[in-house]
């Protein structure tokens, strides 16, 4: 008899990567639904386009790299990258802008660094940051007006036509600045009350945006409950942003209030879906808290004193740089040790 030879353990009960990623996709649906309800078909079209292109790019590069294409495509990670870009790009972003974002995310940020697990930077945010810097006009003028309460909102075909056409002339009537952008640019010359009278803010905090953020929050909590992500990064992230906002932003006539920071931009999407990308985040619990807090603080700094209204992408990328450093100094204390061994191993003499 020949018996199978295997190294222990012989029992396995893992949730495979593909299922983890599937849960991430499912958890993003409430937010996507809210986006569609409040801002029209734009995000949905973007998501479909970005996911399809991401899978295609991944397949092509895997083929070029002589890797098993089906094996890696099935892990759903490329789909998640596409999804995240689709969720975060402006609703009317032209197809080629989102296309460039997806290609640079999958081809450059992910596969050129060695594929799944080897990328030091969050691929989706690399793509986002690239198009934000390269095509500032397309990236800032294509945000949809909240559609729910507006009779002239574009339908599916109009939205698709706008995204697909190279000319962006038709959209002028449908778009407006994002709440954070609006607040940032107007507050210099007006009072908070005057600024908040703008229709983008509505009766609540920021019309539509608050519900989108609530949708992502629900999905994020689901991910925490399913133990797909731990609470450390989102909590560190939100705590960093909240503390900065409380410390510096107490005057609403000067800086955006806390409510806007939390619910009027990509904050919640970033906290639960983007910063938590395990590949490019810190590893230990303590490290995750520091990493998350760093992102939160950077978001506040860039939003308040930088030149971009939203700052999730840049903050995440900047903290990605710091991950190896954070990891070196935040290993957990091992059982039976007095304290954690921090830093790099000392060179032995002799």
């Amino acid at each position: 008899m020949a018996f199978a030879q295997q190294s222990s353990p012989h029992a396995h009960h893992a949730r495979p990567t593909s299922r983890v990623m599937l849960w991430v996709i499912i958890a993003a649906l409430p937010g996507l639904f809210a986006q569609t309800v409040f801002f029209g078909w734009g995000n949905l079209i973007n998501v479909v386009w970005c996911v399809a292109l991401a899978m295609a790019c991944e397949a092509a590069i895997l083929k070029l790299r002589n890797k098993p294409v089906a094996f890696f495509l099935k892990d759903n990670t490329a789909a998640v990258t596409g999804l995240l870009l689709g969720l975060s790009l402006p609703q009317f972003a032209p197809w080629w802008v989102s296309g460039i974002a997806v290609m640079s995310a999958i081809v450059v940020a992910k596969q050129l660094y060695g594929g799944l697990g080897s990328n030091p930077f969050n691929p989706a945010m690399v793509g986002y940051a690239l198009v934000l810097i390269s095509f500032p006009v397309a990236m800032t003028t294509n945000w949809a007006e909240p559609a729910l309460l507006w009779d002239g909102a574009p339908g599916f075909s109009e939205t698709l036509g706008t995204i697909a056409s190279a000319q962006q002339t038709a959209v002028d009537g449908w778009t407006m600045a994002t709440p954070l952008d609006e607040y940032k640019h107007k507050i210099a010359t007006r009072t908070a009350e005057e600024v908040l009278a703008h229709p983008t803010f509505g009766d609540g905090i920021a019309r539509g945006w608050e519900w989108v953020n609530a949708g992502f929050l629900a999905g994020g909590l689901l991910l925490v409950l399913l133990r797909i992500i731990t609470w450390h990064i989102p909590i560190g992230y939100l705590a960093g942003l909240v503390l900065m906002s409380l410390a510096f932003g107490n005057n609403a006539d000067q800086y955006a209030p806390l409510s806007l920071h939390l619910l009027a931009g990509g904050t919640v999407l970033g906290a639960f879906f983007i910063a938590t990308d395990p590949v490019s985040a810190a590893t230990s619990h303590q490290g995750k808290l520091i990493y998350g807090a760093g992102i939160g603080v950077l978001i506040y700094l860039i939003r308040t004193w930088g030149s971009y209204p939203d700052a999730v992408a840049f903050s995440v990328l900047l903290m990605n740089f710091a991950v190896p450093f954070i990891d070196h100094y935040t290993p957990p204390r091992t059982y039976g040790h007095h304290k954690a061994r921090r830093g790099v191993p000392g060179r032995k003499q002799g």
């Binding site: 190294s7 222990s8 012989h10 009960h13 990670t77 230990s284 059982y335 039976g336």
Partner: protein, 608 residues
Amino acid sequence: MTQLWDFTGGIHPAENKHQSTARPIRDAGIPDSLVLPLQQHIGEPATAIVSVGERVLKGQKIADVSNGLGVPVHAPTSGIIENIAELPVPHPSGMNDWCITLRPDGEDQWIPLEPTRDYRNLERGQVLELIRDGGISGMGGAGFPTNIKLRPPRDRKVDTLILNGAECEPYITADDMTMREQADEIVAGLKVMAWILRPERCVIGIEDNKPEAIEALRVATEGTQIELAVIPTKYPSGGEKQLIQILTGMEVPSGGIPADIGVMCQNVGTAVAVSRLIFEGRPLISRIVTITGEAVREPGNFNALIGTPVQYLLDQAGLQPDKVNRLVLGGPMMGYTLTTTAVPVIKTSNCVIAATATELPAPPPEQPCIRCGECAEVCPMELLPQQLFWYSKAAEFEKAEHLNLFDCIECGACSYVCPSSIPLVQYYRYAKGEIRVQRAEQLKADRARERFEARQERLEREQQEKEQRRKERAKAAAEAQAKKKAEAEKAAAEGDAVDERSAKAALVEQALARKKAKTEAAKPQAPAAEPAQDKPDLEALEKQLAQAQSKLETMQGMLEEAKAQQADNVEKLERAVAKNHDRVTRAEEALADARQKLASQPESQSTE
């Protein structure tokens, strides 16, 4: 209620224990032949003290450890020693090792047994000696000789004695059934160990998935001060370090032993063995083994003689050979696969799983690590398994060690949950092995360098001493010459005034001068070398010379041959010949030196 603590991490694998608890412990009986490995525990292997063809009785000592850490091996039944040879033994590598094969004669005849009436009348050392002679080593995991473990370092007082009945591995029920059926013996054995150690607290730790065992022990411990701690079911609660943390809240220091914090852990099976030894005089010749898995029809626990082939037990449990795919010795989390069913049960074998392909399927292909951190969540040692994996894979062993690689207990929880199905534990074993090899090599290189340096120094010193001696001799000779000349001149001047007396006095003076020179020459040397100097071993030196010459001849022969064949090692050989030539010259010199010295010796002796 005993206060319990929790340990970080841990997993809840499917238990699969009910299969093997449906039946009571069955007696496996005596197989056709018993294979007794000489090494069944950590430490030194035993040496056979019987010869082939000899008849032995049940319980007779057939192998013992005379030097170092270890316990003897006893004949599990009466019979004839068939052979002593290298046979397959239970080992992860599937290696062969020395074993005594015993052919039972079916009579199962005991040696006269000497139970200890009251161990309390004995010295503690005597009881420990009995435990050693009974061949008892830990029956739970690694199998450490029990008598050594029961004798903690002098400065370490054991306050808490823990009996490990957690049995957290899936499938295994050997300890469970032992607790159910032999609870009184467990308590009796625990009392003996407690008497040896005099702890303040005795605790039996059991996972709460064994209600029958808990009940049996509750009855058995009634009226005693032994605590029964029912702990939550979580793998690896039965790991020594984890159980100690659960029951005491303390952590065993890294690199230390439980006794460092005043704790000791023993397995319940070991307690039974101790009880049987003390109260019945029976050495450790059998143990309870779980035979389970979907490829056997009647899984259960067997009381098997040590040395019983696994095949024999599988047959008794109704093995379906066409179904078995993987054979695991031990549990599914930490056990290892067997290559053959010919291996015997040894003192540490607690379970054999004959698994079908669907029961323990081959893991899916390895995917890239996405640093999800699941492994760190379940690691009971609070390590960063994925960092260790990266460093092990990249052969950055220094970094892996820095992140406490050697604290890994290889429980397999990380591999169990890994979404990328990376065989993490295998990477850690690899890294640990590589580091050990590197260390051994480093040590070897260091020693070789030290030896080389010491030799260089010695050769240099000898050369200097030789030079020094030569100078001294030359000086003394010159002085003697000068004196002689002066005397001759004096004599010539004084004419016939030289009488016999003065001639004698001159001779004595000369001898004294020589002696003085000699002692001065000998001064810088070590006193031990002196006698050898005074009497050089001519024979040895001649032998050396002969050897050097013969070597030179061989080398020359080889050189000529090499030259004839135009081999590419001619240069090397030429160098070797030159070196040997030097050696011959040196040997000749040494011999000549020695001869000269010997010639001058009778004189110097006469002056003493």
